[in-house]
């Protein structure tokens, strides 16, 4: 399969997703990237099948007293691309802390 060449911001977003930041606003806060970069990048990553999105269940959202979020999850090829991006941008791993539940 052809390896994905990611831009620095896309690699940063993918890295954030792989570390457990799973929805748009969360990723934006963790990476410090502007919203105009994060949301279209998430769409592109989804189109390229590096991430998949799913809606949080209404029951979980109601229990937390907030609207259901659109969660992004990194795919198998996304993990490979994130790994390749970390090798290409070695500082990426140090930029983001792992998310604590």
């Amino acid at each position: 399969m052809k390896p994905h060449r990611l831009s620095h911001s896309a690699a940063l977003i993918l890295k954030a997703l792989s570390l457990g930041y799973c929805f748009g606003f969360d990723v934006m806060e963790a990476t410090g990237l502007p919203s105009g970069t994060v949301y279209p990048a998430l769409r592109r990553l989804e189109r390229d099948e590096l991430v998949v999105s799913r809606w949080e269940s209404e029951a979980d959202a109601s229990a937390a007293q907030r609207p259901a979020r659109r969660y992004y999850e990194i795919t198998h090829s996304g993990k490979a691309a994130a790994q390749a991006a970390t090798e290409r941008y070695p500082l990426l791993a140090r930029l983001l802390p792992e998310k604590h539940a």
Partner: protein, 268 residues
């Protein structure tokens, strides 16, 4: 159906969503609004003293991305896009010639003087190109009467545009030396035109051969049909599908007595 929020969004956010949702394609709108309601709600309830990042640019750019992507998907591989690109290239190639001629009128005068010569050369190029269309792919197209009227019009339009583009490019390239060696320039331009015209018209017929014969969109998902197919179907080659599901094109790897040319298989 969008579920109700636990508490309403700020008025400014509601106005923003209401105004921007019209940028998104209709089929994506409900999901888009739902997703952004959740993001804006989250932003509002996590607001910190030091300021929370704004989402205005994200809302607009996300909506524009969805719109752009839907247009890209709708146009990709269509005959309209092909013709539009050729027309754009032709216009771009015309600009240097108009600049070199000094004015549009000057260019038109020179172009009008070359019409007969260009028509003769273009007819010869088109004839040679079509007569030389002997690949298994083009044999599929060789009987033009088999093509629908829409396909014939598209093929003809593409050929005309490609030949005009070839002539314009040959003019652009030879224009700087025209004042010094006019006769040699004429010969050089004719040779260049024939060469570019042949390449262009060969591309044109191969492109038509690799399009769906129903909707004229480019065929996609090339798949090589290998050994298992040879065993069961006595066919090795490649298959390309129409994205709209109108059929597929089988291209044999080796010409055989029972499968000499590519074959368009329409879906039932």
């Amino acid at each position: 159906m969008i579920p109700e929020l636990p508490s309403p969004l700020r008025r400014a956010d509601r106005v923003l969503l209401a105004a921007t949702q019209w940028l998104t394609p209709r089929c994506e709108r409900e999901n888009w609004v739902r997703g952004w309601q959740a993001e804006l709600w989250d932003r509002e309830h996590r607001r910190k003293q030091d300021g929370t990042p704004g989402l205005l640019s994200g809302v607009i750019q996300d909506a524009l991305w969805l719109r752009g992507d839907s247009v890209r998907q709708a146009l990709a591989g269509t005959p309209f896009l092909c013709i539009a690109l050729l027309v754009s290239l032709l216009l771009m190639a015309t600009v240097p010639a108009v600049i070199a001629a000094g004015s549009l009128h000057g260019f038109l005068v020179i172009a009008a003087g070359s019409v007969v010569r260009v028509a003769i050369e273009a007819s010869l190029v088109a004839f040679v190109s079509l007569a030389a269309g002997v690949t298994s792919l083009e044999q599929n197209l060789s009987g033009m009467q088999r093509l629908r009227l829409k396909a014939r019009v598209f093929f003809f339009a593409k050929m005309v545009l490609v030949l005009l583009l070839a002539w314009m490019m040959s003019t652009d390239v030879t224009w700087p030396i025209r004042p010094f060696i006019p006769l040699t320039t004429l010969v050089l331009q004719s040779l260049l035109f024939v060469l570019l015209g042949l390449l262009g018209s060969r591309w044109s017929s191969l492109d038509s051969a690799l399009r769906c014969q129903h909707c004229l969109c480019s065929l996609a998902s090339p798949a090589r049909v290998g050994r298992p197919s040879w065993n069961f179907l006595e066919f090795t080659g490649a298959e390309l599908e129409c994205k709209q599901g109108h059929g597929h094109l089988s291209i044999p790897e080796i010409e055989t007595s029972w499968c000499q040319a590519s074959e368009w298989v329409a879906a039932d």
